[in-house]
Symmetry: C2
């Protein structure tokens, strides 16, 4: 998917919502558990219920891998089911030496190899440029690099003073030379709202994928005020607060309500801050 198409979808839907498909077999409503593929059935209903209000879906790969071969099958069916209008992110946090990253790129970007055809994959920066570049060899596919994450452990190394600036700033500076706004995004946690202005100085045009609104407690308003640019530049993810809004037989309509609520809030912020 291109930058322009993605921004077009955001403008049209007045939404920069990404729905995180962190689908945990242990949390799926009871009435689905007897079906042959409860994870896919759950995702299918979540996608049907939320597609009007979001522009992206982000399956968290751990939740599928934990189920082995069956999880992989559920993931393949989920990706095939998501409408082509929606940006798809493999939240996988991969990154390895060049030849291995090349294989991970095939995993997520080459359906003839793995059965998966994502638009983007999240990548950890620790191993440097040659661990990231192989993902960029695939046309129209995206790398979403970890910069400043939403979790408590983000203080352990990401904020260390590295050659005169916090490590996450060095990651932004160095990696923004590897690819432009058309191929590269960054993960910045919503719990880090105080850093968005500084981050926008360093990468004014790149999209930021922002987890941590919802269950993790980040503020959508702060993220939008300080992180938005003239092409929105944000994909804000919510997972648990949408997909587990309710765990009864009516879970999908509760998910739809929560996605709609977030979309309406986002429409206000687009009006206020997208400039």
């Amino acid at each position: 998917m291109t930058y322009e198409f993605l921004f077009g979808q955001i403008s049209q839907k007045q939404s920069y919502l990404c729905v995180g498909l962190d689908t945990d077999i242990r949390k799926i409503p009871a009435h689905l558990q007897g079906l042959p593929d409860p994870v896919f059935e759950f995702n299918k209903q979540i996608i049907d219920a939320t597609a009007d209000y979001c522009v992206a879906y982000k399956p968290n790969i751990a939740f599928y891998e934990a189920l082995g071969k069956q999880g992989w099958e559920s993931l393949q069916k989920t990706i095939a089911y998501i409408p082509k209008t929606h940006f798809t992110i493999a939240d996988a946090k991969r990154g390895d030496i060049g030849n291995t990253s090349g294989l991970y790129a095939r995993t997520f970007f080459d359906p003839a190899s793995s059965g998966l055809d994502f638009d983007a994959v999240t990548v950890a920066p620790y191993m440097g440029s040659d661990s990231v570049m192989p993902f960029l060899d695939f046309a129209d596919k995206w790398v979403i690099l970890l910069a400043l994450t939403s979790n408590p452990g983000s203080t352990d190394f990401q904020r260390m003073n590295a050659d005169g600036a916090p490590l996450f700033e060095q990651v932004l500076k160095t990696s923004s030379e590897w690819a432009g706004k058309d191929r590269l995004m960054y993960v910045v946690g919503a719990t880090q709202a105080g850093e968005f202005q500084r981050i926008r100085q360093l990468v004014p045009e790149h999209f930021l994928l922002v987890p941590g609104v919802g269950a993790q407690g980040g503020s959508l308003e702060d993220v939008s005020r300080f992180g938005m640019n003239a092409h929105c530049g944000l994909l804000v993810n919510a997972s648990r607060s949408i997909i587990y809004a309710d765990n009864g037989s009516d879970f999908a309509s509760h998910a739809r309500q929560e996605a709609c609520r977030l979309q309406q809030e986002m429409a206000r912020y687009l009006d206020l801050y997208c400039r």
Copy 2:
């Protein structure tokens, strides 16, 4: 597997060789390609040929994931086939927020969930403590944390001066408080031989998993001289130089010869430096 059992195996076999199962379907000998599961058949023959000379196997997860569901099945069969005397490492470079790392831990450590039962998994440190701790909740399982990797991109961030010391040293210092030598190892590339003495000052007792001997050009002698401790403290990985030693119908006996050659060299270094 316990630290004591692993060291016992090393002493008994006079080997600290780890065979990397980076099995690329495109490089498997032609006569195996028509079989129902060529990747597993290849691995089975490699394991039969090398088990006498190595103490560990390290499937590189990317190579299996790139084949989708079929790859996952080959991986499950491979892990089930490896003798229980051998330490098994999922080279996966995972790491995510706590609840997600918990799912990755189930993926690699909980056979009832995923069908896999590895002894250890490689983890990237960028997201900090809560991305690592969930892997340590599984008794007798190990985390192998990236410290200083073997690839060119290791210079991008790992060697930055972070609060007064190279970032990889900060990773060693901080993480060595999370777990002791019985549960935690570190990845240090063989191409970084100049750093082994300093690393041994910081983590004298932990095992180091050392890739980069062979195709990547690191020196086994330098690694052994500067990295070994009184309990060996090294697992040296070779992948391509063993498993692709030959690509004819006789590939397994060539792999065995190369594994034997490395084991004999290791026996010398154990005699010289394991003290």
